[in-house]
């Protein structure tokens, strides 16, 4: 490992010596203190959108309600991402503790984990650890139970409001926003929904304090991040790295010497071409990522890469809203038509405009983010789209 890249051991680091000790400590603190720590830490959600976690919790805490929920999003459907699986299998206790702290802070006694259907095999281990958690919660007099629900394999069910619909037994279709989950989430009740990794970060902030946490990363992107590295790399796998690193350092470390582009953030993320590696920061000030880093070398056809993504979106769109349902089909058929010479090259401009419309009119993040990969690939690899 080069010296430039900072490896971190926060998320996957050792458990505290005594089981559920950090939780025990946290339960003794005033809620405002914990929220203030989260605010000071600068923690932003790790599920993709990067919303400040402190605010999410604060808003939910402030809504009066007889019932509130804490939901852990473990749907992990983004192509090229497998870090939540790793977290849940290596440090489940940290996830449960983070959720339990959230329960205390917002005033909820019910936590739910929405686990990707394909991760069913992890269930026995998780349930065993959950038993231990519940024992400790009882001992600590913390009335907060956690339940695991299995997803049904649709990517869209990772979108928070579709996830609630799915857990309520309905078809997984995103809802209108507002209202946001903080006021109306699962069962219409105020809900905090966070990514698996976000909950672990919360726990670590409680353990090491916000000052220590802030030492990692940059002003806009505090802390570390678990990356799923795949594609043309000699060392694919899961790595916990500091946020805010320049992309060229990442490529130096993980590339195979012939890297042509990196897709940051999976199918819904951005494609960064070689010439922009130097000026690209991985983080909320640059190119954000939920964890997926796909590396492509010069043997790859970017047309095929894009085509694959579009196939994926066309299939995984819930289909309810016009721009996304029909737009995805048009983009896919559109690049095929240009490739075959049935449409003029100029048609790509038309498609870029369409992608922009999808971005600003689609009902949820899925349709809104198709333009990310589409526009970044088409504008940076135009020749590959045509010839």
């Amino acid at each position: 490992m080069s010296e430039l890249i900072q490896r971190v051991d926060l998320i996957f680091g050792e458990y505290s010596d005594q089981k559920y000790k950090v939780l025990e400590e946290a339960l003794k603190r005033p809620n405002d203190d914990i929220i203030k720590d989260l605010l000071d830490s600068g923690l932003k959600g790790r599920g993709g959108a990067g919303f400040p976690t402190a605010l999410k919790w604060k808003f939910t805490a402030e809504v009066p309600s007889d019932e509130k929920y804490v939901v852990c999003n473990a749907d992990e459907g983004e192509p090229g991402t497998f870090k939540d699986r790793e977290i849940l299998s290596r440090v489940p206790r940290k996830v449960f503790s983070g959720m339990a702290i959230c329960g205390k802070v917002i005033g909820s006694n019910k936590g739910l984990i929405y686990l990707r259907g394909e991760y069913k095999f992890m269930l026995p281990e998780l349930l065993k650890e959950l038993d231990t958690y519940h024992e400790h919660a009882k001992k600590l007099n913390h009335n907060f139970t956690i339940e695991i629900r299995l997803g049904s394999g649709a990517y869209i069910c990772g979108e928070e409001s579709a996830l609630f619909e799915s857990m309520e037994g309905k078809r997984g279709e995103p809802r209108n926003k507002p209202p946001y989950p903080t006021t109306s989430g699962f069962m219409g009740k105020p809900t905090v929904i966070n990514n698996v990794e976000t909950f672990v970060n919360v726990l670590m902030i409680c353990r090491i304090g916000p000052v220590q946490f802030r030492k990692l990363g940059t002003t806009d992107s505090r802390g570390s991040k678990v990356f799923s590295v795949s594609g043309d790399t000699p060392k694919p796998g899961i790595y916990e790295l500091e946020l805010g690193m320049p992309l060229f350092q990442f490529v130096d470390e993980f590339g195979d010497g012939d890297t042509k582009a990196v897709q940051v953030g999976g199918a819904s993320g951005f494609c960064v071409p070689r010439k922009k590696f130097k000026d690209t920061i991985i983080g909320f000030e640059g190119v954000p990522t939920g964890g997926s880093m796909m590396i492509f070398n010069s043997s790859r056809s970017m047309y095929n890469v894009l085509h694959n993504y579009l196939d994926f979106f066309e299939e995984e769109s819930c289909g309810q809203c016009t721009p996304c349902r029909v737009g995805c089909q048009q983009l896919r058929k559109g690049i095929e038509a240009v490739k075959r010479g049935e449409k003029p090259v100029l048609y790509l401009e038309q498609l870029m405009k369409l992608a922009e419309t999808m971005k600003i009119t689609a009902k949820c993040g899925l349709g809104q983010s198709v333009a990310n990969s589409f526009s970044s690939i088409v504008s940076n690899f135009k020749e590959e789209m045509i010839y």
Partner: protein, 604 residues
Amino acid sequence: MATKEKSKTKNITIKIDGQDISVAEGSTILEVARKTNIHIPTLCYHDDLCVAGNCRVCVVEQIGARNLVASCATPAAEGMNILTNSGKVRLARKHIVELLLSEHNADCTKCYKNGNCELQNLASEMLTRDHLFLDLVADRHYSIDKFNPAIIKDDSRCIRCQRCVRTCEELQSVSALEVANKGAHMKISTFYEHPLFEVVCTNCGQCVNRCPTGALIERTYVDEVWDALYNPKKHVVVQTAPAVRIALGEALGMEPGKIVTGKMVAALKRIGFQSVLDTDFTADLTIIEEGHELLSRLKRALVDKDPKVALPMTTSCSPGWIKFIEHTFPEYLPNVSTCKSPQQMFGALAKTFYAQKRGLNPEDIVSVSVMPCTAKKYEADRPEMRSSGHKDVDFVLTTRELAIMIRQAGLDFESLPNEQYDSIMGVSSGAGVIFGSTGGVMEAALRTVYEVVTGKEIPFENLNITPVRGTEGEVRKASLKITGTLPDFNFLEGVELKCVVANSLVYAKRVMQEVRDGKADYHFIEIMACPGGCLGGGGQPIPTSPEIRAKRKAAIYQEDMGMTIRKSHENPEVTAIYKEFLGKPLGHKSHELLHTHYKARQRY
């Protein structure tokens, strides 16, 4: 899903297209724009339904926001600055309509909704003539369900707005239509994609009323009726339901709430029907039969203490309700009045009594009905409905189809004179007219039953029993204490007759659940499957909205007040038919022709 109505208390100010507007907090941007007479196009939005926010044609620009916002789904907030027609908005809308058209079988000239289609209107508004995108229709396999006698579902015209799905679930609690698949394959489907007539669909047609395109339409019999009219060997009679006369005008360019009874009769005569008759006549007859049925059930319960008597009794004139109860509460079928609907009573009499009186061979009679209803198309096809020995009602037309025939005949509807129904079976009472509104059957029945039992007029000013006049969105309960009974009905002395009125199947379901859970002690339940009753039926002019239905309702009660005869038992033709033909209420002939039974059906 956002809810439409919230408590609206505080006022806020927002700017729309440069204009400052003060509105109640909780209103959506769309509602504010409409109040200000700013037109924002919509497709998935419907006044009767909860907000879906899926078509996205209603997007507007909110200054400072990253994305456009769906105006139908976004609450107005203090200080918002909205542009409804900026360049960004116009391009986005055009894209969206073009996208819809790219997966749409848009051969409008072969489409039933040509001329009354929200997508077509929008396309014309957007000047979509340059085909921005590729055609996606060619390599699709869209299915058409055309096996149903009432409703046709053509997926190739569907824009997936889910209005139908929401209608079927929210208004009707039937959920016969649901969303299947995702992505490009997302579609509106039924249980395992069975045809509509094999599933729980009640044929109420509420989805048809709200479908913005030609994807859900009634099965039309316009051509069949013209053929019959042109056939010199046939004698074609037509009956018109109460709710048609107060809505037909809408489909011919008139304002909602206009009473056009006389013009409608004139039009039917000019079209060539040999006899233009009134379903209101058999509505009156229904009241006599059903009223006596109720009294006989009450007697068996109160005097004979017969444990087998099924009470409460429910009305049976809404065929959507009949199919609903067959599927959903089959154990309560004995509670349903055995009376046929007025349409089917009429049909049975047309080919017996009427044929006899006119010296016609029933085989030569073609019996047509004009109904506000699509479920009556299905009803006319039921095997139970052949008690004359023939199909009692040959063709059922909706109000909309009659409007088509009037246009086809080249009539200038508004300038037609007012003409009178023919006789026999053309005289009716105000009680028959109000069958067209929720609460109407109850009111008509009470006007008669009370008088039969006490010998006195029901003690309400002008006979207007307002407590049972149902309203949309609620279950209306009322009770009436009976005193001063005639000797035959002493068993009812002091009895508090408990009635309940429900419209829309979602409320019917609530009432039946109460009954099932033993939480209700009703005697008589009136149920109409459609919002507002028949006046909001699935065969009525499109569009529909709470305001439009309120105007139709006012017209119905106005028509009732204008009638000289207000009570069914005072209809002279009704008295005459008992004397000449039927004998007595619930008599042998009545049972043969006017009553029937229904069967339990599967629950999916």
